[in-house]
């Protein structure tokens, strides 16, 4: 580990991995609670068109992906809001349009090849440049700041959208904030795990954390811890074993999830029976003469 740290490319890679591990589970917690766990996946597909546009126009693929992913996220959210029933088809059009657009455009770009595409599909953390690190760091701070600022309202929105409305909260703005911060997170994570695996880092650490927690705050904190641990662990494993860092990170996160499920089950067993506590006497012990007083 120590000698790895002496390589500048490894330092950049580790920094990038920490950013991803920290940020993805935070927005992921809100997305999971809002039942949008796979939104990141869709945005990732759309971001690929942005990457290709960046190569085609010889500008920064990351900045181009940022713009396209954010626009895509806004469109996704508006489609979701408008079309409750036929939304699936509209989303599929957008997702696969984004993916196909990316593949098509990258073929037209000078100097870009299928290898370029693969590096964005599955990540290529060892080629992260210094500029990438700055952009990723800036975006990570931005995402954490936005979520911190709107956190309380986002919590209410993700618990129950109708209750959020009756509190007078700006529901549409908050939904767009979730979509756009998810898009920013996709772009941060793209270089590390790739657009096809981005969603895993948003969802899997949260799924693991919630096996062990009772509180929303603690779930976020633990998910961030798991995210960073998986990112650093996966990256080091990849450096030694010469496997794909993105895949190693995601598989490590899944291993943590499985361990968390088992640990959570063991903890609940040790704590005794399920904690559901009935207010009244147990079924079958209510005197029959009183039964009627409840329902009338």
């Amino acid at each position: 580990m120590i000698e790895l740290l002496s390589f500048p490319f490894m330092q950049r890679a580790l920094l990038a991995a920490v950013f991803v591990g920290l940020v993805a589970p935070v927005i992921g917690t809100f997305m999971v609670q809002r039942k949008l766990a796979l939104l990141g996946d869709g945005i990732g597909h759309v971001a690929l068109t942005g990457v290709a546009l960046g190569f085609l126009t010889s500008t920064s693929p990351i900045i181009a992906a940022l713009i396209v992913a954010a626009l895509g996220a806004v469109v996704l959210e508006l489609v979701r809001e408008r079309t409750r029933t036929s939304g699936d088809v509209a989303l599929a059009l957008l997702f696969y349009g984004g993916l196909a657009g990316g593949v098509l455009l990258i073929g037209l770009a000078p100097g870009a090849s299928n290898a370029t595409l693969t590096s964005f599909l599955f990540g290529s953390v060892s080629t992260v440049t210094e500029q990438d690190v700055y952009v990723m760091g800036g975006l990570a701070v931005l995402v954490l700041g936005v979520i911190g600022y709107f956190g309380r309202e986002l919590f209410v929105l993700c618990q129950d959208e109708e209750v959020a409305r009756t509190h007078g909260l700006p529901v549409r703005l908050l939904s767009l904030i979730i979509a756009v911060t998810a898009a920013l997170t996709v772009v941060i994570s793209m270089r590390v795990v790739g657009v096809l695996l981005v969603s895993a880092l948003m969802v899997v650490p949260v799924a693991a954390a919630q096996q062990l927690t009772r509180s929303f705050r603690v779930t976020i904190a633990l998910a961030m811890g798991i995210g960073v641990a998986a990112a650093l662990g996966g990256l080091s494993t990849a450096a030694y074993a010469d496997v794909s860092p993105g895949a190693a990170i995601v598989l490590l996160a899944i291993a943590v999830f499985i361990a968390a499920v088992l640990l959570g089950r063991a903890l609940r067993l040790r704590r005794g029976a399920p904690r559901i506590e009935h207010d009244g006497p147990a079924p079958g012990t209510i005197p029959h003469t009183e039964t009627g007083s409840v329902s009338t």
């Binding site: 009756t166 509190h167 919630q210 409840v294 329902s295």
Partner: protein, 275 residues
């Protein structure tokens, strides 16, 4: 029971606009009118039950009052302001029919109850001592202070209902709108709820309750609005022989009627469909 220590709801100085004013409200789902021309004034400080069989439009009316479903025709004013321009949402405490599980991320009872203060707290501000006290008091009122660190998903249905009520209490509103707060709630929780509403009413709060039946709330209800097929069939003193299963259009659905073992010993609690 510390329901007596509730400190919300300042007594209102007269003259005051009605807390809720509904005029000729029509609400349609897929062009099928569910609420068909309801007019209603609920004065500040009144405790009103909205009754009616399944499908009578009572829940829909409540949701229209809150702006959760659009009006096809008619108007709704809250505290003298048309719904569209209403901004004093901190005065409104909505208690939905049930806790939505969402994606299943855990949240503690205290986190959920404290989130009821979202309308009156500034962004980035830490909760003040007063805010914390209001949350503790709300939890105490519904008898769940000892569960405040537990996940809401670990509670029974009746306890979850009490969490929802505590969440509304924590925001210290003066106008409560509750959608079927007794549905699926055990006897102990029903009595806690009745005590809470009595205390709120004593402090001058307006309470609108959508109910299938009055149950233990009967002594508190001075006025009942009975909806029938989307129109007001009765508005006045609560109909006395209420809860009589023989009434027309009165439909009971007994949950788990065919569930094996023990179910027959459970009290029959109605689970009304959301209409």
């Amino acid at each position: 029971m510390s329901a007596e220590t509730l400190s919300q709801a300042r007594p209102a100085p007269p003259p005051q606009p009605p807390a809720v004013r509904v005029r000729d409200a029509v609400v349609s789902y897929d062009r099928r009118p569910v609420v068909r021309g309801v007019s209603l004034d609920i004065g500040a400080g009144e405790v009103v039950a909205v009754l009616g069989p399944n499908g009578s439009g009572k829940s829909t009316l409540l949701r229209a009052i809150l702006g959760l479903v659009p009006l096809t025709a008619g108007t709704v004013d809250l505290h003298g302001t048309p719904l569209r321009r209403f901004t004093e949402w901190a005065r409104i405490g909505y208690v939905p029919q049930r806790l939505s599980a969402g994606g299943g991320v855990p949240a503690t009872v205290r986190e959920v109850v404290a989130s009821g203060q979202v309308a009156r707290r500034r962004r980035l501000s830490l909760p003040t001592t007063e805010d914390r006290a209001a949350v503790t008091e709300a939890l105490e009122t519904v008898g769940l202070l000892h569960r405040s660190r537990d996940s809401v998903h670990e509670l029974s249905g009746g306890q979850q209902q009490r969490v929802l009520i505590a969440r509304a209490l924590a925001g210290r509103p003066d106008t409560f709108l509750m959608d079927e707060p007794l549905a699926g709630v055990d006897a102990a929780s029903q009595q806690t709820l009745a005590d809470t509403i009595a205390a709120l009413s004593g402090r001058g709060a307006t309470v609108v309750l959508v109910l299938h039946e009055l149950g233990p709330l009967e002594p508190l209800i001075g006025r009942a609005v009975v909806l029938s097929e989307g129109t007001v069939g009765h508005d006045g003193a609560p109909p006395r022989p209420f809860g009589d299963c023989a009434r027309d259009g009165h439909e009971h659905i007994h949950p788990h009627a065919d569930a094996a073992g023990g179910a027959s010993a459970l009290p029959t609690i109605e689970v009304p469909r959301r209409d």
